[in-house]
Symmetry: C4
Subunit: 359 residues, 4 copies
Amino acid sequence: MTNTIPPVDAATEIENRKADHLRVCLEEDVQFRDVTSGFEYYRFTHCCLPELDRSDINIQTTFLGKNLGAPLLISSMTGGTELARLVNTRLATVAQHYRLAMGIGSQRIALEMPHLASTFAVRHLAPDILLFANLGAVQLNYGCGLVECLQLVDMLAADALILHLNPLQECVQSHGDTNFRGLLPKIAELCEKLPVPVVVKEVGNGISAAMAQKLIDVGVTAIDVAGAGGTSWAKVESERAKDNKQRRLGQTFADWGLPTAECITEIRAVAPTIPLIASGGLRNGLDVAKAIALGADLAGLARPFLEAAVNSETAVDELVEVLIAELETVLFCTDNVTLQELKNSGVLQRHVTVPAAAS
Amino acid sequence: MTNTIPPVDAATEIENRKADHLRVCLEEDVQFRDVTSGFEYYRFTHCCLPELDRSDINIQTTFLGKNLGAPLLISSMTGGTELARLVNTRLATVAQHYRLAMGIGSQRIALEMPHLASTFAVRHLAPDILLFANLGAVQLNYGCGLVECLQLVDMLAADALILHLNPLQECVQSHGDTNFRGLLPKIAELCEKLPVPVVVKEVGNGISAAMAQKLIDVGVTAIDVAGAGGTSWAKVESERAKDNKQRRLGQTFADWGLPTAECITEIRAVAPTIPLIASGGLRNGLDVAKAIALGADLAGLARPFLEAAVNSETAVDELVEVLIAELETVLFCTDNVTLQELKNSGVLQRHVTVPAAAS
Amino acid sequence: MTNTIPPVDAATEIENRKADHLRVCLEEDVQFRDVTSGFEYYRFTHCCLPELDRSDINIQTTFLGKNLGAPLLISSMTGGTELARLVNTRLATVAQHYRLAMGIGSQRIALEMPHLASTFAVRHLAPDILLFANLGAVQLNYGCGLVECLQLVDMLAADALILHLNPLQECVQSHGDTNFRGLLPKIAELCEKLPVPVVVKEVGNGISAAMAQKLIDVGVTAIDVAGAGGTSWAKVESERAKDNKQRRLGQTFADWGLPTAECITEIRAVAPTIPLIASGGLRNGLDVAKAIALGADLAGLARPFLEAAVNSETAVDELVEVLIAELETVLFCTDNVTLQELKNSGVLQRHVTVPAAAS
Amino acid sequence: MTNTIPPVDAATEIENRKADHLRVCLEEDVQFRDVTSGFEYYRFTHCCLPELDRSDINIQTTFLGKNLGAPLLISSMTGGTELARLVNTRLATVAQHYRLAMGIGSQRIALEMPHLASTFAVRHLAPDILLFANLGAVQLNYGCGLVECLQLVDMLAADALILHLNPLQECVQSHGDTNFRGLLPKIAELCEKLPVPVVVKEVGNGISAAMAQKLIDVGVTAIDVAGAGGTSWAKVESERAKDNKQRRLGQTFADWGLPTAECITEIRAVAPTIPLIASGGLRNGLDVAKAIALGADLAGLARPFLEAAVNSETAVDELVEVLIAELETVLFCTDNVTLQELKNSGVLQRHVTVPAAAS
Ligand SMILES: Cc1cc2nc3c(=O)[nH]c(=O)nc-3n(C[C@H](O)[C@H](O)[C@H](O)COP(=O)(O)O)c2cc1C
Ligand SMILES: Cc1cc2nc3c(=O)[nH]c(=O)nc-3n(C[C@H](O)[C@H](O)[C@H](O)COP(=O)(O)O)c2cc1C
Ligand SMILES: Cc1cc2nc3c(=O)[nH]c(=O)nc-3n(C[C@H](O)[C@H](O)[C@H](O)COP(=O)(O)O)c2cc1C
Ligand SMILES: Cc1cc2nc3c(=O)[nH]c(=O)nc-3n(C[C@H](O)[C@H](O)[C@H](O)COP(=O)(O)O)c2cc1C
């Protein structure tokens, strides 16, 4: 850590921000306005006579070398507050039960205030899951380096480190960290030196194929598109704005970004084998199935898991149950036994005409 | 019948389910949400000077060798309860009057509880109509074989047996019968050995051209596409759900399936001569006319007939009257005397632009 | 007149129908539901620097050899009742003032009840206008022949006879005249023997290019497409229905027909010189200008004139004033001095994309 | 000045009109109805990893030889009344602070009533900005010539003269000046003889590529498309109508014109280097960025500045602040440092499919 680490007051500001984010995401309308994830343009071809027993269906998979009970990721969200601790606890417990992948929120606050580390550290609750550490990539320009990243990974006994890219979010909040210069070589160095894989994600505005290629070229192991159509961070920051300017700025960019489905198809076209996560606006197992049929290996959801976790552990469990049931229903009604079969089956069709209900 | 036949309690459960289905279909919104039958994309070319007398128009037809007064099928719906008996009685009486085709609901319950057979058996009321027995094809994996199918046909003095395919419905209900493995050869055997023709239908999610071809290849005599856009069985099962999971599962798949109009055009492209029934979302004689112009031989309606039949026999009669008047009006205003002429006339056009009213 | 003329009771029924039509058209929503005239798909290319003085603009034209002050037709509507007399009087007075073309409603009733002729006869009020007699073409199968048509023309001192084609309207009313067999040769005969030109129109469902060609081939002098998108006669008849069947029949066919703009472009493609009237759903001078730019020679409006005429003569006058001002504004803002220039200017563009406001 | 200058009464009428315009624009819905500026069809490709520091971004530019702090024009609006003086004062003060370009309303009234000149003259408040004089081009046919234009420029110490073209506005108001004959040669003469550059703009109905070419050919230095999609002058004039005719005329033409985005792309295709201003319906810095990415050099806003200025100088300041922040956010999130880079980057994509939210 260098002297660019913010002083205690700033840290408290981060703590407030974390609390704010949870509150706003739970209470306000923070969904993209008109732009959608793009999955609704796709429709599966129904198979009325699947030649299988539903109980044969197998949605297990592996990602970054770990076995998963389902191709589901609980996306990076929180830490640093007591509510965050509760949320992370409930999510981790259920993740362990179903062997899901899981991320936690940006750990920067825990670098600055080490006593908060325990609000992130869920490994003891989920010894077997694929667990991701998390840091804003831009922090590599604000005092975080290899040493700090190692700390973050250790704090969690994480299997990998997620670096999130959030230029829009930094722009629409006041005093955001907006020096993004020279990050790519720093990411390259991390990829080389960190003992665990580095995953890069957005936070809801998407990653283009061109950028995915650049990231792969510098050694990133996996990509999570975190595209447009779900939680809009511009809207979140608009809701917590302290002045008109920030409020309007957030509204203007409420719909900014690349829809999740587009990111997946475009990245898959240039990088057929990179481990790829679809997230941003996935809301049920039908979206999950579409993401996978389009080429994703894992499907991440953030806000739906937050809402369930704030409610109860049972709610999280039920959410996973239904996501799995929905995904299996798609497999069954398209006559596919495994996720791999689904990917190769060609049963997902793009339909461009607007449904007539629009008229 | 083998020992896989469910015990009495289960049978009672089926009885309740039958009653539930009627109630839900009558009281709740069980129509597809955004997906439509697809008929609204088509428009007839109006002929302002038909060279005919409306009284010359003749909508009689034959199907599976039987003469019909109109190309209308009262789709398979019910049986097993007293309300079902009433419904079937009214429908059969009117069907006889107009010489329509008619199906009844799945007869499995009557195999298990023979005293309920009389709620299905309407032949005495409709000696001359084309009458279809009905069974879920998946039951061929749950204890029903040739012997039972013969029983079903005899119970009704049916002209043919309809096997319905409903993988989605089985998935979205709790404890559905979801072992669909190996059904095709069993259907093949039935086609070969049963003394009456075998018809295969869906229940509202549609049959693809590829599957239609497979079914024809194993000997099926006719196909009823029962496509998407009308009654959504996912929604029906969602409405009668006992837990959140089933409720949400049904909602997620509310719009699943292949629109009826698409099924008709796609199946006709690969199978120009197979006797073909259009059903799923047809709501008036204009839809009936479009289905026929697209290549169907018969047009089936379920829920509209249910609503009328629960009301009164007169209501059923009026419904048929208006369907016929609507169909004849189309023939008149497109200058066609017979259904065959309508099919060959090229007066139905697909219009892809969204009506300007949408703007 | 032959003995097929209906007896007095039936005539009274016609009288009631005439009154009903006015009432329903004035009080109920009788506009097409989703189908529009199609003019909204077209947009003029604005000219910000017209090289002309607005006072140079000249919208005079000639039709069937008569000079018109503007390319406007008050479409055929009414007669036979006292209200009709008032309406016709006001319309004729204004038509004379601006030298517009004008039609009156079907005169059959006046054949049956000669004392009603005066409710149609407006020539004394409008000595110089282009005035059209009117009869349903189907009446040529119900007792009207050359003799009767001559009577109709004489009754009005009409310049031409309009025969209207209305197969849908006849179908959706109870006891409609639906024997349309063999009308074409009878129209041919009229064209040959009648001393005035014969014009054929629809009543709101449009005339196809193929039919226009047939009509031209038998000698019709001019065509009025009277297309879909304005007053829906199916809806009118539905509103005055006496039973459920007729009510629903009308609703089912509320949107039946060929949009007016399509009729114009398609007929012009096959018949570049036939005198052509656009009507059906034109509601302002911008629609009038589009109709003319698409190839029509005259533009007819019915319901808007009815509403104005029921109000006052001044209201009719104001309507004509504004229609002319709107038409001249289009000419001015597209830099055209005459209607002929407008037709040749290529300033009307079809834009297929749905306005973004739809999103 | 010649004797065609209107007498005092008429001048008072102009004064009232000026006041009316402000009131109507502030209080009524004067936005285009369905037609939009067209910018919503375009979407930027998000760059999740810009290789720059936001503080490096530089949105300065030059236009007609003057340096501007941002590519923003406060469009020509007002003058002649006390409220106008206040508005112009506030706008000019902020324009000076950020070095924006600024226009004022048509100065004809100040020719007629010289004591009103001071309500326009803002140069003392904004010594360094690019300042535009303003006159309706049609006035060249109503008594204004080179001498008067010089007076207008001098009155303001303007850097250039804007001639606005408004044939529709003149048509939809009563007693509009509608003799547009022979203006082009007069504009040519002005371009030749006036010591400052001549800019031509519309007032919200757009300039076509063909007309832009003509204007360039006669020597116009710059063009402001002032296209459709923002303030609709037809609606403004409709709101202040004194009779039904004018009211309806304005409504009929509420959506007339060429959308701003179309004007920009089409003019740029034929005139790659002409200094080009986008205005008409731009409402935030995202629109500004799109206009520039499509090829405009400057982006003008009228009504948003009016609303702010009537409120307070601080409101105008805040509006400029947020416009700049929005524009810089686009540059940052598309990885561009300068406006020139943005233009060449190809990061703006047209997306033709209707957003799925429409369904
Ligand atoms: C409350 C909340 C906090 C988040 N915090 C982080 C974070 O710290 N790091 C990160 O990479 N993404 C964070 N995200 C973004 C999510 O991981 C995800 O990319 C985004 O919300 C889109 O997914 P969704 O539409 O399913 O919510 C957060 C999301 C939410 C809802
Ligand atoms: C109350 C009800 C019960 C049904 N039961 C059966 C059944 O037992 N067997 C069957 O093949 N289809 C059954 N169906 C499905 C219909 O036959 C038909 O395929 C479907 O409802 C779509 O038609 P619709 O949109 O006209 O209702 C039933 C439909 C309804 C409304
Ligand atoms: C009240 C009323 C009565 C009409 N009666 C006749 C008629 O007798 N003969 C006829 O040819 N058309 C008749 N029409 C049809 C009109 O001439 C016209 O074709 C149709 O209404 C479409 O025009 P619109 O949309 O401007 O109303 C009538 C229309 C109305 C509104
Ligand atoms: C109140 C008001 C007065 C205007 N007066 C003039 C004017 O005198 N001269 C001119 O060239 N344009 C005038 N305009 C037009 C604007 O300059 C601009 O072209 C048009 O309003 C479209 O921009 P907007 O959508 O941002 O309002 C005026 C606009 C407004 C709102």
